[in-house]
């Protein structure tokens, strides 16, 4: 193309390898070929993303604005915002939402705080093999199937025969320890703690990556200037871990709609004592797969609302992180 633009007379310009058009075609072919090669490389990932993420997401949003009832063949009429109006007036939804918030308020700080603490302890270990062993131990619950992990907790938490209450009775002298999953008051905190144990390994790993990337010279310089361990932690470690905190908090924001802990611990047909295990994700599951005509439309609307709340929480985290960066 450069050859054509430079030819003021407008007459075809010959090149050593052939005519102008041939050169242009070759150039186009070359760029097209390169572009196609690029698309070819991302094709598998795009296909997987479109099939398993984008399509279900779009379909989910469409279902949320319909009265889709799985039990009734071909019944999925568009019903506008009716599902959201129903949700607004649904007492059980708000009760479940309150429990989910309660769960999130316990889960998030515990998951982040414990993850950071354990990562800090592991990062202090200088022997590579020893630290590797601790990293594996810390990450082990993450790779354990969640059903196995939670059923393990169910056994530990049995009011009469569980090791936890045995320990509290025999070694701590507590005559009547809590009934944990059999007591409505303790159900949500107990589920949150079990879930933290299962998932904290992921945060430990993320924090460790962040910690290992901090240049040790900062600490050495701070120590020379007289900064103690705590001052080094607050003025060096925490600020430099800010990007890691962002990732960890954004990943944790999705916990609001969790359902699996309740389903595994209490089974599909009951939601714990006085329905204390009825988190909002489980409520959506019940509507979609257990009660009535399997109202997928209403269940999708609940999940969409929870997704939006989680996105808002993630946006707040991003906004705060960006504000800090700009300072």
């Amino acid at each position: 193309m450069r050859g054509v633009a430079g030819n003021l007379s407008g007459a075809p310009e010959r090149t050593p390898s052939g005519g102008v058009w041939q050169a242009a075609r070759r150039g186009w072919r070359s760029r097209w070929g390169m572009a196609m090669l690029g698309y070819l490389f991302i094709l598998p990932a795009m296909a997987l993303y479109l099939t398993f993420s984008a399509y279900p997401l779009v379909r989910g949003v469409m279902i949320a604005f319909s009265d889709y009832r799985f039990l009734i063949p071909n019944h999925q009429p568009f019903n506008g915002i009716n599902n959201f109006v129903e949700m607004w007036n649904d007492r059980v939804f708000w009760e479940s939402f309150r429990r989910s918030l309660h769960y999130t308020v316990i889960y998030t700080p515990l998951n982040v705080g414990l993850g950071l603490l354990i990562a800090l302890l592991i990062s202090k270990i200088r022997h590579p093999l020893e630290s590797a062993v601790y990293r594996v131990i810390a990450y082990l619950p993450v790779v354990l199937p969640i059903a196995v992990a939670l059923l393990l907790w169910k056994q530990l938490l049995h009011p009469q025969f569980g090791y936890i209450n045995y320990f509290l009775r025999e070694y701590m002298g507590i005559a009547r320890p809590p009934a944990w999953l059999a007591d409505p008051y303790w159900v949500v905190p107990t589920m949150a703690v079990a879930a933290v144990w299962k998932h904290v390994g992921q945060n430990i790993l993320l924090f460790l990556i962040g910690l290992y990337n901090i240049n040790t010279e900062y600490y050495e310089a701070a120590a020379i200037d007289g900064a103690g361990q705590w001052r080094q932690f607050t003025d060096i470690t925490l600020p430099l871990l800010r990007p890691t905190f962002t990732i960890v908090l954004v990943l944790t924001a999705g916990v609001l709609g969790t359902a699996e802990e309740s389903l595994i611990l209490f089974g599909v047909t009951q939601a714990g004592p006085e329905n204390a295990g009825m988190l909002v994700g489980r409520y959506a599951y019940e509507i979609a797969f257990f009660v009535g005509e399997r109202r997928w439309g209403y269940a999708a609307a609940i999940n969409l609302a929870m997704g939006l709340v989680s996105m808002m929480l993630a946006a707040i985290v991003f906004r705060l992180a960006r504000g800090e960066r700009m300072e």
Partner: protein, 449 residues
């Protein structure tokens, strides 16, 4: 480049050719054969895909299918039993039915509480025409070979046959006989009033061992529903909904309240009593026969006994909870006749596949439905005296109607929080049940079918 050089196989060409061949072979290896290979001229065999849950395959359906394949090896059909995960297969099956692309011909299990739902989903096809054209030897006498006529009735919906029974569940009272003896009893008394007195004595006798006299299961049809059947002739109303607004229901839950108040049972054990039962910390429970089987596996037949539940009045007939799980043929099944024939062979009254399958029911879940199998496995043996008594209660009990499945999940979902609050003393029975009814009715109002 000379002609000779062109003809030579380059390293790149060799690698391309071998890689291509290897890929083609790998793809061929991954292909699922739809029919077994047969020598030229020999008749081909068509695979008929049928499904069941892994637990029921283990229980006998896998072996029974193999036996049936042996019997029909010259028929041109072969059954392939695929084991599916409970609950997870339904959306897939519904999609296949609605897309007109059904892979499976029959399903070996439909829980009683789900059968009505499956008909509404369009998963199940009526069997009458297939039954009329079936050549199975016992197809015409099937109705008469069930242990009792209400078993046949439970396979019908709106005048059509939809299901072939795959197991009967008769709920029983399972108990630790050694514990009862400590309280001075040889067995379960005949009435609830006497039973309540016994619970008091059990509590005293077993106090040092931390044994809870009675355990309820948090599943409305197991303990509570079974107890309720002894209070009324028919526990269902005209719409086949459990009569949770009847005075007898209030009387039944009030009886449980007295037991909670007196410490004969407790809300902690209510959440999941099977672990306590296995560990010997529960004396009595009302449940399916598996409660007794689990107990016997740990504490032995000499200590674990079973019987039908007590009655309100000694003069009342014996009654208990009964429901029927069944197999069915899929709508749009590729081989519907063969699907039905498989059900008739494996779940039939006689023959090697049926004998194998029905023996398995007594090891895991359920009981036989045919007179022949009952006589062979229970009636003419001394191993299950509690089941003989349970079968005797079938004529006077009401078998769960298929339409009750419409209400079961709603009641199960709504009733427990209020029952627990009532039993904990937080609300009165009237308030609790009014709230349950309001919530159940609100859900029913949302139904459009």
């Amino acid at each position: 480049m000379s002609e000779l050089n062109r003809a030579r196989l380059t390293r790149r060409d060799f690698l391309r050719t071998t890689a291509g061949a290897a890929g083609a072979l790998a793809l061929a290896g991954c292909t699922v054969p739809t029919a077994t290979l047969a020598p030229a001229g020999a008749p081909t065999t068509t695979d008929v895909y049928v499904i069941t849950f892994a637990a029921f395959a283990d229980m006998g359906q896998r072996d029974a299918t193999a036996l049936y394949n042996d019997e029909i090896r010259d028929s041109g059909y072969r059954y392939v039993l695929e084991e599916v995960v409970e609950g997870a297969w339904e959306p897939k099956a519904v999609s296949m039915v609605r897309d007109g692309d059904m892979r499976w011909s029959a399903c070996g299990i439909a829980n009683a509480g789900l059968q009505w739902n499956y008909i509404q989903m369009g998963l199940v096809q009526p069997l009458d025409e297939l039954l009329a054209t079936s050549t199975h030897p016992w197809v015409n006498t099937l109705q008469d070979r069930y242990y009792y006529s209400n078993i046949y009735d439970a396979t019908q919906y709106e005048g059509k046959t939809y299901f072939i029974p795959m197991k009967l569940n008769i709920h029983l009272m399972g108990y630790r006989e050694d514990y009862l003896k400590k309280a001075g009893y040889d067995g379960i008394p005949e009435t609830w009033a006497e039973f309540e007195v016994m619970l008091g004595k059990l509590k005293e006798a077993l106090a040092d061992d931390d044994v809870v006299p009675f355990a309820a299961r948090k599943e409305v049809f197991r303990t509570l529903g079974t107890a309720f059947t002894t209070f009324v002739e028919n526990p269902y109303d005209e719409n086949n909904m459990l009569k949770i607004d009847s005075p007898e229901w209030l009387e039944c839950i009030a009886m449980f309240k007295r037991w909670f108040d007196a410490g004969y049972t407790n809300l902690q054990v209510l959440q999941d009593p099977v672990a306590d039962w296995q560990k010997g910390k529960v004396a009595i429970g009302i449940d399916s026969h598996s409660w007794i089987r689990i107990g016997r596996a740990i504490w032995g037949s000499q200590n674990i006994k079973g019987t039908i539940p007590p009655k309100v009045d000694a003069s009342n007939p014996d009654r208990t909870w009964i429901h029927l799980d069944s197999g069915f043929v899929f709508t749009g099944a590729p081989h519907p006749q063969q699907g039905l024939d498989w059900l008739l062979a494996v779940l039939g009254p006689e023959g090697a596949p049926a004998n194998r399958y029905w023996s398995g029911t007594l090891t895991f879940s359920g009981m036989p439905v045919h007179t022949e199998q009952y006589e062979r496995l229970i009636g003419n043996t001394t191993t299950h005296p509690e089941l003989q008594k349970a079968y005797a209660a079938i004529p006077t009990s009401v078998l769960q109607p298929m339409e009750a499945g419409r209400y079961y999940p709603i009641i199960q979902s709504k009733i427990w929080p209020w029952l627990e609050r009532y039993w904990a003393g937080d609300v009165s029975a009237e308030v609790a049940m009014q709230n349950v009814l309001d919530e159940v009715n609100a859900e029913i109002d949302k139904l459009i079918s």
